[in-house]
Amino acid sequence: MGRPMLHRRFIFRQITRSGKQALVLVLCVMLSIVSLVSISGLGDSIRQNLLKDARALHGGDIILHSRSPFSAPLEAAVSKLTARGEAKSLRVLEFNSVVLNEKKDASLLSNLKLVESGYPLYGKVTLASGRSFPAVLAPGGAIVGQVLLDRLHLSVGDRICVGKATLVIRDVVVNEPDRPVSFFSFGPRVFIHMDDANRLGLISRGSRIEYSLLLKTAQGANIEKIAETLRASAEKGERVETYRSARSRIKRFFDNFLFFLSLIAIFTLILSGIGIQSSLTALIREKRRSIAVMRAVGATGGFISGHFVAVVALLGLFGTILGTLFGYWLQYLMPALFGGLLPGTLRPGLSWLSATQGIVLGVLVVSLFAFVPLYRLREVKPVAVFRKETAASRKGVVAYISMAALTLLFAGMILWQLEDKRIGAWLLLGLAGLIVLSGLASQAVLSLLGKISFKSLALRQALRGLHRPGNATRAILITLSASFSVLFCIYLVEKNLNATFVRSYPANAPNLFFIDIQPDQIQQFSDTLGFAPRYYPVVRARLTAINDEKIDPEAQRTRRGDNLGRTFNLTYRDDLLDDEALLAGTALFGKNIQGLQVSVLDTVTEMHPLSIGDRLQFNIQGVPVEATVSSIRTRTRESIEPFFYFVFPGDSLLKDAPQTIFTAIRLPRADIGKMQSRIAAKFPNVTPIDVTQIIADFATILEKLTLVIRFFTALGIAAGLLIIISSILATRLARAAETVYYKILGARGRFVSAVFTLENLLIGLLSGLLGLLFSQVGAMIISVRIFKIDYRFYPAQSLLMVAATMLMVVIVGMSASVSILRQRPMAVLREQTEE
């Protein structure tokens, strides 16, 4: 009875007596669990959402595609599967054909889809009548899209001619699961029963047909394995995909996005781990004396270790529970953040599996980080009862082993998250490099600062404080500068993405573009608009050579960003636009240049160095044309105004080239829709583009994404601050002693605060500056290499970030130090002497 009581009381005491350290530890554990659980939960719901749609979207568990009838080996493999009852198969043929009305006096290109009974395997085809698709689709009939009825002036019950067959329209298809809304679809859908395939007479040698075989595997079948066997039988041109592997762009995007978030989570995890380690070290250091006393009175190492493990486990459990609850609760916030980003509604989808996964991972990390401080308990000898704390214990083999285990764990986690192991390896290398660099840079700066002698005594003392023996300054600098690097880097990349894709839309910029206006429509077009905007002739052409040096389109296409191999829009005019300025040349076109002249935008010179007099060879709609560079222009402001890379003189041969006219106008938002439909009715060949709408949609999406990123980044910042607090608490005794020494020697409170403020300020400034340096380099590499966008440095924001960092470190540092500064000298002196 006595023993367990003692245990419980002991554990309880250890926790309550070091409230602050215990709180920091719990918060660190909680942070790591929150970020892990909420990100895996987010991943779960996104994946479930996409996967749920994926089966329907791709039509089956396994999907075979071919442009020709399936090969005998693949057919045999499928037959074997179906014969054994491992899968149900369904054939689908898709092709375009011209469908005619019964009198054959009206026709329309339609997208035919021939399906066997049982279609669809997943999802539901919605019919206008509300009847079920399998019940309606039978041989001899067709289910068509509304557009076909409209265009051929038919209604349900009428007949259509498809190939050689005449079919009765049985119903109208409203929605089908495997055909998402697409702007690229040619013509309306016509569903026909597979039994009519031969009757149509459309499938023969030379026909362009997409053959598909949809497989629905038996419950619990190993889809990947089956797909693998099928792949082994597939011949060239036959594709075998599973609903998982068939990657849509949206899935790829979210995979990348989730990976990015996971990286942040892992980073938060590392920071919290460091926080856990440092707070636990401090907690145990404060207990050294009582531990020594317990040992002196005969407590075994096992007793003490056991109890502290119990203390850590209890605090860890508490943090884990809090973190899990908080992370779970966050799930309900996610749909609000993600609303509109995903097809359908995002339901919180935290599965028990990923919750458990997150918790196990969190506990593993907590234990690994807690291991070294706990292991060091062994080093507390009873003799410590008589002596004050001696120099910091050396790192033993065990510490290195646990560090190696941690490194391996995180490396594994990052690699596991990534499908591309090469990127993972680079990333790890980068992270390791970042830490090494931070270490070297911190060391260099510290020793440099040590060499400088400052006039101010407080500043000198603050610097000395950084070098305080046994102080964790370097460790703090490394963790802080590494974490700020990541946080700043994310911010900078986000800023750059934003600037590139969502430039703030100027109020007077045009918001409605019209392309493909025909030259002879201009007058009529102006009449319809009610005013005459500036028209820009557009001549499509390719650049074939510069000074007779051929441009290889293939090589150009592999360049990041813009390239010279693409088709350019040329124009002709004689004046500079309002937002243009000349970089080279005195006028758009020179008098002394022979032959055809061309003015180029500086963007082109970034792709290939050019100067006045260089000869550019174009292929303009089949006609080779050579022109001499007469001037180089630049744009004076980033705007939505139309611009052209190549401008030819107004009175040049380009006037005769096949061309379309482009114009950009600004209308009040309310009028845009009306104008769009008026133009569409009068000029069917003209395409209106509502720019504001496109930009607004994109901005909303980016905003939502960055909100999510910011949220997870905030967790990382919180972990970083916890490290500062815990390390200040960890050096509490040393700091308190220093404070008192200053006071005994006659320093005023202001001096002491100045020393501590400066010390924190130095830490904030150094880590902020180092972080900024690394983040600028990192963000530049990410922007240019991965996102392939131009990079901006954002100096003002960068300075602000460093200032904010300093302020944050000082505030957090000082608030953690307030209790230390307030101590009466004698209390500390006694603690130092008598404890």
């Binding site: 442009r67 020709s68 092709f95 375009n96 054909s97 011209v98 469908v99 005619l100 054959k104 026709s107 329309l108 290109l109 339609s110 035919l112 001619c161 498809v162 190939g163 050689k164 702007f183 690229f184 040619f186 013509g187 007479g201 459309l202 499938i203 023969s204 040698r205 030379g206 026909s207 362009r208 047909i209 041109g237 392309i515 493909d516 499509r540 052409a541 390719r542 074939t544 389109p553 191999g565 693409r566 088709t567 292929n619 303009i620 709609q621 089949g622 006609v623 080779p624 041969l653 005769d656 080239a657 096949p658 395409t687």
Partner: protein, 215 residues
């Protein structure tokens, strides 16, 4: 929809055959006007038919420059809009290959026929010798359509008294070994077959042009 296709198509570009060197001299200019089948979608410029044709002609003593004026994705309307522009190349002979994209888009054959007729009118007026490349549509478009489509070319050839290649892709179409993955664009081997098919029509057009020039 059409705009988008056009944008995609134009992005694929236009190329010209390597120019004949000045020393060899040139008897005349042949412009190969057409869509992706002329441009050589998916193959190198040197592997597309205009380059092969020039080479073959040169080997047989015809010093003609063959200009590749193909634009991927172009329909007969596109070809019509740039026919006057093509005259800048001062062609003596034009090999006109267009309409395949019309067929794949299910455009009314009457529209295609009207466009090609206008192109031929312009070329005739400029006294240019024309070789018209006949085209057939894939069977899945339906017999009514493919029949109407196939009739365009012989009818126009007869009406405008121009030479007709009955089917441009004869012996190449629908043969997987002669086409690239998409099943409609010839690969390098396909173009070697193709150029052999059309060669006699081109030489007879050259002879016709020469006799016309001689007059």
């Amino acid at each position: 929809m059409l705009t988008l296709t056009a944008v995609i198509a134009v992005a694929l570009g236009v190329t010209t055959s390597p120019a004949l060197s000045a020393e060899t001299g040139s008897e005349g200019v042949i412009v190969a006007m057409g869509d992706s089948l002329t441009e050589g979608y998916g193959v190198m410029e040197e592997e597309a038919y205009p380059a092969l044709l020039q080479e073959m002609l040169l080997k047989n003593g015809y010093k003609f420059k063959v200009v590749n004026a193909g634009i991927s994705g172009e329909t007969s309307s596109g070809a019509l809009s740039r026919v006057r522009w093509m005259l800048r190349l001062k062609p003596d002979i034009v090999i006109l290959e267009t309409g395949a994209n019309d067929g794949l888009l299910g455009i009314d054959p009457a529209v295609t026929e009207k466009n090609i007729a206008q192109i031929l009118t312009v070329l005739k007026k400029e006294n240019i010798t024309v070789v018209l490349a006949g085209m057939k549509m894939v069977p899945n478009m339906g017999k009514t359509y493919t029949d109407a489509f196939a009739k365009i070319y012989p009818a126009l050839a007869e009406k405008f008294h121009v030479a007709l290649i009955p089917f441009f892709l004869e012996g190449v179409a629908a043969d997987p070994s002669l086409n690239n993955g998409d099943g409609i664009h010839p690969n390098a081997a396909g173009y070697r077959v193709l150029v052999g098919n059309i060669y006699p029509y081109v030489t007879s057009a050259i002879d016709k042009w020469k006799s016309k020039e001689a007059k």
